[in-house]
């Protein structure tokens, strides 16, 4: 198949992790789309070959974790080129990155570090999104991060900041509902108000995942290691009411479950999408 099929707005996907690849290839379960971390497929590994086979049957979404669009230095052109080369092979339906930075001064920290939200950082971030969109030849979706710290001087509220990035650059927003919940808990804001502050038209994808409570402090850690918790499902239902049907992804990256459990989470998200579409909307 060479023609790219769009991802239907009501479809639910799963994050593809290597222990599940063989089972998916053998059983071909009904999955709306597969999302992969771009950086895991930039080397010429057998895993890339497996992905190239799966993409014949499943739409693929490419989720970057290392473009570091928030770095106060030039974008890494070599990494952008590798990203572009991968896109040409995968032909992803969606391409996303984060409102964060992860590299500075030649060191890659493998973490999504928060930005202070100021006019200067907004200007920088927008410039980098525009450069990346131009280099990749595709509209990016930018994901709101989960955070454990915020800066004393950060005058622009995060939903306003990301909304302004979308307005200025034309990028879409990947609304990570779990991240909103985690950050809201960690900083004591109202997650529903955050959702309400996001621009409806820019939302192009939703992420759902599990998190856990830190042992010694009252902090939630976004580790994608468990089922989505009930309050996050409830927030997701609110997101569907506000945004309408949006491609939704179940992320599960550590402490991996069986594929059956992962598909069960995806089924639940599909049920919610169905309820929204045919019951709530009626």
């Amino acid at each position: 198949m060479t023609k790219r099929r769009p991802i239907p707005s009501c479809s639910v996907g799963i994050g593809l992790r290597s222990p599940h690849v063989s089972e998916i290839a053998a059983t071909r379960p009904a999955i709306g789309f597969l999302e992969v971390h771009a950086e895991n497929y930039m080397a010429e590994t057998p895993a890339l070959d497996r992905l190239l086979e799966l993409r014949r049957d499943y739409p693929v979404s490419l989720h970057g974790v290392a473009l570091s669009l928030g770095s106060a230095e030039e974008l890494d052109r070599r990494h952008l080129c590798r990203f572009k080369a991968l896109m040409e092979r995968i032909e992803p339906l969606l391409v996303s990155e984060h409102l964060a930075w992860s590299a500075i001064g030649g060191a890659y920290l493998n973490d999504l570090l928060p930005l202070p939200y100021t006019e200067a950082s907004l200007h920088l971030f927008c410039r980098h999104v525009e450069e990346a969109q131009e280099a990749l030849g595709q509209r990016l979706l930018i994901e709101n991060p989960s955070a454990y710290l915020r800066y004393r001087y950060s005058p622009i509220p995060e939903p306003e900041f990301i909304g302004e990035v979308a307005r200025r650059t034309g990028c879409g927003i990947l609304c990570d509902v779990n991240n909103i919940y985690v950050s809201a808990w960690n900083f004591g804001f109202d997650p529903a108000a955050y959702l309400d502050a996001l621009p409806v038209d820019a939302i192009r994808e939703i992420h759902l995942a599990g998190h856990h409570a830190a042992e010694d402090v009252d902090i939630l850690i976004d580790d994608h290691s468990s089922r989505v918790v009930k309050p996050v499902w409830e927030l997701h239902a609110a997101a569907l009411r506000r945004f309408g049907p949006v491609p939704t992804l179940i992320e599960w990256d550590t402490n991996l479950p069986t594929l059956e459990v992962l598909l069960d989470e995806a089924n639940h998200a599909e049920e919610l999408a169905y309820v929204h579409r045919y019951v709530d909307a009626a």
Binding site: I104, G106, L109, L149, Y153
Partner: protein, 272 residues
């Protein structure tokens, strides 16, 4: 506590803030950054600590994935300690974590707590070679007949480019045997004094493979991999093996599918 903290009203302040947070994440010293962070009911240093913990845990896991037998030889806790020390001084440059750890073997070689395991750094070198082979695709091999186009008087100056997945690696220890034994659940006894090895590691289709080479072949192929022309590679091989047969050795290079290109390099000095 520093008197000022970056308010990020311009780009240089944002850069300064990010460099401070980088130093706090990698080095653990949060003095420079805490004043810029809102407490929100928790010590700002503890907030930085969450990111620091994540960075070290995930990068340490990446190293462990690339160097599983090194990890087994020193046990997980010591490996985590060594990885931690390495990470502080050698954070990744590449954003693809399978490419992280190129100089981990050199680090281990000079890491004092490892000095009682003299073969450990070479095990790491072997695992790095396996990692390269696992992440680099083989190019289409060149057929030997292509060399026929080279005029006889230029043959000595031919340099052969080898498969990009290849590594050549020699050690005074039986590294392949040590590595293989430690892949088993029950490690069988290994005679680590059984002698050294000269290894060729490569990708073969989807698999990674390696084999021991005789001294002449190893020297010859290592010289080719280093870009030496045939005459120079042959001279190096003959030092190890006076009976070295260039024609046969070159034929084997092509038969094994190792050559991917050649070029004539008359400017390279060759031994007379």
């Amino acid at each position: 506590m520093p008197k000022s903290w970056p308010m990020c009203t311009d780009m240089s302040m944002l850069l300064e803030l990010q460099m401070r947070l980088r130093r706090a994440v990698l080095g653990g010293d949060t003095v420079e950054i805490v004043a810029a962070i809102q407490g929100d009911g928790l010590d700002p240093a503890a907030r930085v600590g969450i990111y620091r913990h994540h960075a070290f845990a995930t990068l340490g896991d990446a190293l462990q994935g690339t160097f599983p037998v090194v990890c087994r030889l020193v046990d997980k806790r010591f490996f985590a300690y060594a990885a931690h020390e390495y990470l502080r001084e050698h954070p990744p440059h590449s954003r693809c974590l399978v490419e992280y750890g190129a100089d981990f073997a050199d680090f281990l070689a000079s890491f004092a707590p490892c000095e009682k395991l003299p073969y450990l750094a070479d095990v790491a070198r072997f695992e790095w070679a396996l990692n390269i082979a696992a992440t680099v695709r083989e190019a289409t091999p060149l057929q030997a007949e292509m060399l026929a186009a080279v005029p006889a008087q230029e043959a000595a100056y031919v340099a052969v480019r080898l498969q990009p997945s290849l590594s050549y690696f020699a050690s005074p220890w039986p590294i392949d045997a040590i590595w293989q034994a430690n892949k088993e659940d029950e490690v069988p006894p290994i005679d680590i004094t059984s002698g050294g090895t000269s290894l060729e590691i490569r990708r073969a289709g989807e698999a990674v493979s390696w084999r021991r080479l005789d001294p002449g072949t190893f020297e010859f192929r290592t010289a080719l991999a280093d870009g030496l022309v045939l005459a120079a590679a042959m001279a190096a091989a003959t030092l190890k093996d006076p009976a070295f047969d260039l024609t046969a050795a070159l034929q084997h290079v092509f038969n094994d599918g190792l050559a991917v290109a050649f070029f004539v390099s008359p400017e390279q000095e060759t031994p007379r």
